[in-house]
Structure formats: C-alpha cells, structure tokens
C-alpha cells in the first residue's frame, strides 16, 4: 500500500513545532538554529549524514538533552521536557536504535519495567497481545527476550511505546538491524499508526525506505536544516546529494582476477560463549587473495561467533583456520594481527572500541603491533596519535580531534574510524561484521569502496552483513549463515533473489513474511 496520502495543511494541524533549537558540544555545534514542524498523522523523515545532529535533535525533543537555545511547541503549548518521563507524559515516545532490554526477563516483564505504574502481569499480558494484534506486530508476552531476534526485540520497544498511546513516535535508525521481512511488518504498523493520527518522526540512512514510507523529509547538514522536501518526488541519489552537498559516486569494482587461497576454514565448530548465542556448526569456506566473500543472514545466526573465531577471540582447533596452509586457529588476537589477519566487530562501543578512551588510545587498541606503536613493551603515543589522525583524515571521521573519547562520536563516525583503523593496517585477511551499520549513504559508499580497493590490492576480505544489497554490490562470492551453519559459497554474479532466499534457509523468514500479509 504505497498509495497517495493526501497532503495536509500543516499549519492547521502542526503537532510539534521546533524553532531555533541550538545545542553545542565541546568543539561542535550539533544543532544550529534548527526549525521544523511535524503534523498529526504525518510520517516525517529526518535525514542527514553521520554527525549531522539527528540524534541530538530527537534527544532534545525526548528530554534527554537540554537545548542551549530555541523553543518547542507541542499542540500549541510551550514544550520543554525536563526528562524522558516528562516527554512521555506529553505523549512523546522514542524507540532507540540500541535496545535497552534485559535478556533474562520475559517480554511482559521488560515492558512492565519501563512503565511508571505497571498493571498486574495478567492484564499487561492481555494488553500486549491486544496491541500486538491490532498493529500486526507478532509477539508472545511470556517469551524470554534473550531468545528474540533483533526485529522481535524492536517490537518489544515499539509496543512499550504504543501502550502509552503516544501522539508523536520517534524512531532513531529502526531498520538497520532488521531483515527485509521485518522491515515490511514495521512499515505496515507505522502506516496504520499514522492513519490513526499519530505523528511519526523517522530517522534512517536507507533512502529507498524513506521514499516509500515518508510524506516529508527535513534534511540536516552539519547541524543546520538545509532543505525540506517530499522524498517521493526525489530520487535516492538526489536525497543523498542534498545531505552531503556534493555528488555521489557509486562504488566501482576493478574486477581483477582473484589469486590463490589465503584463508581456509574447515570443519569449524564453536559452542557459543553466550547462553543466548548460536553455536557454529561445521563451517567451511575459503577466501582467495583479492576476493570479497559476502556472508549474509539474519544477525544472531552465528555472525558474532564467526567473527570471534576469525579474530582469535575464541580459540578453536588449530587446523580449523589456516592462513596459506599454516594452522592459526589456536592463535589469540595479538598473534593473528602479527600474521595480518584483522577484524572489525559489529558492536563498536565496548567491543571494537573502548567507549571512554580517546581515539588515540583506541588506535593503540588494535594497531600497536602492525603499526609499530610499541617498542619493547613501551608505547609510542605520538605515533599512535599520528595513526589515529591518519584514520580520521582518510575516512573522513567527523570529530574535533583524536583526543576525543570514542563515545562522543556519532554512531556512523565511530564506525568509519573502526573500519578505517583496520583497513589502513594493510591486512592480508580482513573480516568485517556489519561494516556500514548506521552509516550514512555517502560514508557507506566510501566504506564499501575502501573494501573493494583493499581487495583489489590483494587482500582477502570477508564481509558479514544483513544488508543483501550491500553484499550483492561488493561480493565476488556469497554464502549464507543460518543457525550456525554456512551454505556453500556461490559466485555472487547472477544470483537471483529466490536462490538467495533458498540459501538463507527460508524457514524463519517465510513465517515472518506470512504474518506480514
């Protein structure tokens, strides 16, 4: 249902108006006199490259940050929430990109935890079922959250918001962890909500999704509103250009011939360290020099475990992983870096990077060995700083400088830093998990281009991703990871969607697709 939504006169029905909102952080003006408004029943997109200030703006609307200047009006009344509680009381709800759920509690218990006055469990469970049926969000109240997929977790967050009957629902990058089928379900729900008069403020880097979903788009560039348009009247390329203020080039492939086998994985089995994780079962594949192997599949099917086994964080049988014939399975992360097998995990805060450490220290974290940042145990901080600066420059990381803590960067910018840090170390094998997660279109293109260039220079690259378009764009061969098993890799060229669906093992997705109808 992509039909024409009648355009509303927004002056009449403006639900929230924001005028001159300004917020500065040390070294950056994250929001600079931002004006915008959103009407009842409108699905409004907030676009902008990484670090443009989208999250900052919604945090102020939700009371999580206080503006330095400017004012907000909600339904004609001045609106200045002192905290999220006040925002919720005014009918504003926010679904974060990062979920705040407890794995060991059930869906209903998690929802009760977020409520000011939770009703008795029985009534709450009934309400959850009711709301989940009304909005087509399948969810069982008594299941443990730890066993849920990313899409299902997000439904928990959404239902938690819907139970409060919000007038304005804000979603910060909701689809970056969802499968296409889960996205379809989400969009159906959002359209239904909008038809009932709920305003939806929607942040995403996926421009095609925005074109199909949103009525209006406000575009931020470096903290300022630069444009407001109807995304349906623009192409994705137009939108991306408005965001960056420059033309976008699609990644180009050199198309060289792959060389000999560099990395060989055979019969790799690994019990998951996490009680809710997925164990790897008899995974085998090989990657050649100059080749990109794309590994698709829904997150939570063994992706994290596969990355741990390849980065050396999880020890496996020595012969299960071989580099040019040499067994390296038993080597830890340090020795693997020494032989030029590098990795970039998915979770950037707390795994790929230490949140409270500076970028210089985070450069030291993985580059000490290969960049010679340590001599006989003593650290060369000036060299580490120089390396961090090189990463920042080469990957266009927006930050005041390498002395800033990793957690002060916007999500996409930290992702660029994490990928750039490994790419610049000239790996022989590079494994990346969700390399463009939360990264804007132009930066995603830059990261993909960097991976292609790296392959062209002879590196064997393994890209683990949920984003099938991304994998089709850059991989030479494609394999699917499902419940800890890897399908045999096939050449990516000429693979049809049906074939990919079959490789992905179907069952789980079919069920979801069926519900979506």
């Amino acid at each position: 249902m992509d039909g024409e939504r009648p355009r509303r006169d927004r002056r009449v029905k403006a639900l929230l108006t924001v005028e001159g909102l300004t917020k500065a952080y040390p070294g950056v003006v994250a929001n600079d006199r931002v004006d915008f408004d959103i009407a009842e029943g409108e699905i409004h997109a907030l676009l902008g490259e990484n670090g443009a200030g989208k999250s900052t703006l919604v945090k102020m609307i939700y009371g999580l940050a206080q503006p330095d200047a400017g004012r907000m009006t909600l339904r004609g009344q001045p609106y200045a929430p002192a905290g999220p509680g006040a925002a919720r009381a005014s009918g504003v709800a926010l679904v974060f990109q990062h979920f705040s759920l407890f794995d060991a509690l059930s869906v209903a218990e998690n929802i009760a935890l977020g409520m000011e006055t939770p009703p008795p469990m029985r009534r709450l469970a009934a309400r959850i079922r009711e709301v989940s049926e009304t909005y087509g969000l399948p969810l069982t109240p008594d299941r443990l959250v730890g066993g849920l997929s990313a899409g299902e977790r997000q439904r928990v967050e959404i239902i938690r918001c819907l139970l409060q009957d919000p007038r304005l629902l804000i979603m910060d990058e909701p689809t970056s962890v969802l499968t296409p089928q889960e996205v379809a379900i989400l969009f159906a729900t959002l359209r239904k909500l909008a038809a009932e008069g709920t305003a939806i403020l929607y942040i995403s880097h996926k421009l095609e999704e925005i074109r199909s979903l949103c009525d209006r788009a406000t575009i931020l560039r470096r903290g300022r509103v630069v444009e407001s348009c109807n995304p349906r009247e623009k192409t994705a390329a137009d939108l991306a250009e408005m965001m960056v203020g420059a033309k976008l080039t699609a990644p180009s492939r050199a198309g060289g011939n792959p060389g000999g086998v560099v990395l060989e994985v055979s019969g790799l089995s690994l019990p998951s360290a996490n009680p809710f994780g997925t164990s790897l079962r008899d995974v085998s594949f090989s990657v050649r020099a100059g080749e990109i192997l794309g590994i698709g599949g829904v997150a939570g099917n063994g992706q994290d475990e596969l990355l741990d086994a390849l980065s050396g964080e999880a020890a496996v049988a020595a012969g299960a992983v071989r580099l040019r014939g040499q067994p390296i399975g038993a080597l830890g992360p340090g020795p693997r870096r020494r032989v030029a097998v590098l990795a970039a995990p998915e979770e950037r805060l707390g795994h790929a990077a230490a949140p409270d450490m500076s970028l210089t220290e985070n450069a030291m974290l993985t580059a000490a060995i290969r960049e010679g940042l340590a001599a006989r145990g003593f650290l060369k901080w000036p060299a580490a700083k120089a390396f961090a600066e090189r990463v920042i420059a080469a990957f266009d990381v927006r930050t005041p400088g390498p002395g800033n803590a990793a957690r002060s960067l916007s999500g996409g910018n930290l992702q660029k830093f994490v990928i750039g840090r490994e790419v610049l170390q000239r790996p022989e094998v590079l494994v990346v998990n969700q390399p463009t997660w939360g990264v804007d279109a132009s930066a995603a293109a830059a990261i993909r281009q960097a991976l292609l260039d790296l392959a062209a220079s002879g590196t064997a690259v393994i890209v683990i991703s949920q984003d099938l378009d991304e994998l089709m764009e850059i991989s030479d061969r494609f394999a699917a990871l499902n419940e800890g098993r890897l399908s045999p890799p096939r050449p990516a060229q000429g693979l049809t969607l049906e074939e990919i669906g079959l490789m992905l093992g179907g069952a789980h997705d079919m069920e979801v697709a069926h519900v979506a109808e």
Binding site: P333, P335, A352, T366, A368
Partner: protein, 361 residues
C-alpha cells in the same frame, strides 16, 4: 529538581577536585560528630590535621611518623590500584603483608647471627616472594576454578593472622625472650635492620621503595603496554579481549604485583619500625591501603598524596585521642567518612548536576 547528566568525557577538573571536596565534607561531618561528642570541633580538626606537623611540643616526635605510616600505605595501595583498575579486587593485602613480614623475618632469624651484606637484600626478596605467594592462592583459584578473588583473598587474611600467631608463639619465638611471645628484635640485629636513612625524618628503605613504586606505577600506566591493558580490561573487558588481552594472565600479574608490594611493606615494617614478629603485628595497613587507593583515584600521584593524608589522620587521630579524649571509634568513623564522601562525590567527574529545568533562552 536535581538531575544527573552523563558527561561525554570524564571531567578532568572534577577528577582532581573531588578528593579535595571529599576532605572538606569529611571535616564538616566529622566536626559535627565531634561536636555531638561534646568536643570543640575546630580544636579537634586542628589537632588531627595541623598539630602533628606544626605543634611546637609534639611535632618533633610526630613529624617523622608521617613517613613511617605513609610508606607502607603508599606501597600497598600502589600495588592494589593496578588490580583495581583492571577490575581485579585484591582485598587481602593485609594477609600478604603478614606473609611478607614472616618470610623476610624468617630469613633473618634463620641466619641469625650471620653478619653479611647480602642478608638485607635477601630479606627484601623473601618479603616480596612471601606476599606474592600468598596472593597466588586467590589468583590460581580464580583462573582455575572461577572462585571469587574478593572472598578468597579476604579470608586468607584470617589464615595469615593465625600463622602469624603460631610463629610468634612457636617457631620464631625469641629463645632468649624469657618465654614471652614474639621474635628477636631485628632492630638490634644490624645486618637485618631497616634503619632510618636520614635521621629524624622517618625515611627508611620502605619509604624509598614506596616512592620508587609510585614512579614505576606511573610509567607503567602511562607508557607501558601492560598498563594500557590493565586500563582497557577495567573499562571495557570485551574490547580488551579483542585487543588480545589474556584475562587470566592479567589476574595472575595484578594479584602477584599487589601481593609482592604488600609483602615488601610487611618486611620493611618488621625489620624497621615494628622490629619483631608478634601477635597483632599487623595494624590494618592492608585494609587502610584500600581506602588510600580509592582516595588517590587509583592514580599513583594521587595515592602518594592520599597516603600522606591518611597517615596524617592516623597520627592526628592518636593525638586527638590522647589530648582531647576522643574515643578511637570516633576516629575510625572519621576515617570511614573520608571514603564515604569520596565515593559519594565521585559521581561528579562522570556526571554533571542539573538543577531544575534549564530555562530556554
């Protein structure tokens, strides 16, 4: 309404200011407590913080005591802080201190009356080894069987106290002591004595070792890969694994280092200020050092200052007991307040306080 807002980066200024604020708050609350006990709070605070250093009558006695008391505190706290930074909680420094003293004194007593230049260095080595070995028990149990190092190291303190008592009454008892418990006095055994290096200052080898430890810890934490790994493991264990840190190795290294330094402190104490192995030889330095480590923000220079401050409250506390008749429990409560306020105001370096809703311009 008061709200806390997380700072994007820990505030440098507050990191330095919070210990000072904690000291100030302790003076206020402590003064209140002394007033309730019927003592003049101003006099009491002055007796604790000022008189030990500047009182015309007592200062000549109490000033050297400052270094004598601060030395072991600083030495032990420096070792503990390394583990604390990595999230490895050695609570049993008191036991390691005892075992270091027993090992060091044991060497001297076994070789008595040998007069050789190498005796004292040998005792130093034995002291460090004694503390290290005692700390290896929780380390090995933790890495092998996942036991909790907090409990194991703490309970081993009580075991060490029993060993100390049995040594003082048995194996190490002074054969010429007329049957009284306690060993020979090592201060009267020149080859083994840890004497004052500069007369009248209280400066002995243990204090020198404490200063060296502070410098070494500073270099380790800021310039060495091990220090980097320690900080990383404490802040972000998953990222530490990704960086190649072996958590088990870190447990063994951190517990071993802190145990060895505590053992050294015990050895210097038994060969110097205390003089002999005896029941009750340990005076709680190992526990107080935990407070010192946190008061010093787990930073070597901070620990140096905190150790001196803590020593001052000890000496001043004794003075206040003696001169004003303040009960010793009140002095201990006063020292406890220091830690309480420190941890309480700690939140300011990571959060900022917002009063009410910010007016929007």
């Amino acid at each position: 309404m008061i709200r806390l807002e997380k700072r994007p980066q820990p505030s440098r200024a507050w990191t330095v200011a919070t210990p000072l604020l904690a000291v100030a708050l302790t003076m206020v609350a402590g003064g209140l407590m002394f007033a309730l006990l019927g003592k003049d709070p101003v006099v009491a605070i002055r007796t604790i913080f000022w008189d030990p250093l500047f009182h015309e009558q007592f200062a000549s006695y109490s000033r050297p005591q400052l270094l004598v008391k601060a030395g072991p505190l600083i030495l032990i706290a420096t070792g503990l802080s390394l583990g604390f930074r990595a999230g490895i909680w050695n609570i049993g420094a008191e036991g390691q201190y005892i075992m270091g003293a027993l090992a060091g004194a044991g060497v001297a007593l076994a070789l008595y009356p040998l007069d050789a230049w190498f005796l004292f260095p040998l005792m130093v080595l034995a002291g460090a080894l004694g503390g290290w070995a005692w700390a290896m028990i929780p380390a090995i149990l933790k890495t092998r069987f996942r036991t909790n190092e907090i409990l194991v190291s703490l309970l081993l303190v009580y075991v060490a106290e029993q060993v100390l008592a049995s040594m003082a009454l048995g194996l190490m008892k002074n054969p010429e002591g007329g049957g009284f418990p306690g060993s020979r006095n090592l201060q009267h055994y020149p080859a083994a004595a840890n004497t004052e290096l500069i007369a009248g200052t209280g400066m002995h080898w243990g204090v020198a070792a404490a200063f060296i430890a502070v410098i070494a810890a500073y270099v380790l934490l800021t310039r060495h890969i091990l220090g980097f790994q320690i900080r990383l493991a404490g802040q972000s264990p998953r990222a530490a694994r990704f960086a190649g840190v072996n958590p088990n190795a870190l447990v063994v290294i951190c517990l071993g280092l802190s145990g060895a330094l505590a053992g050294l402190a015990g050895m210097f104490e038994v060969a110097g200020p205390a003089g002999r192995v005896n029941i009750g030889f340990n005076q709680g330095y190992g526990f107080t050092a935990i407070i010192v480590a946190f008061l010093g923000r787990l930073h070597p220079v901070g620990i140096l200052l905190a150790g001196l401050l803590m020593a001052l409250t000890y000496i001043g506390g004794e003075l206040a007991q003696f001169m004003l008749g303040i009960p010793s429990a009140a002095i201990q409560a006063f020292q406890g307040m220091l830690l309480f306020f420190l941890l309480g105001v700690d939140v300011l370096s990571n959060y900022r306080i917002r009063l009410g809703r910010r007016r929007i311009a």
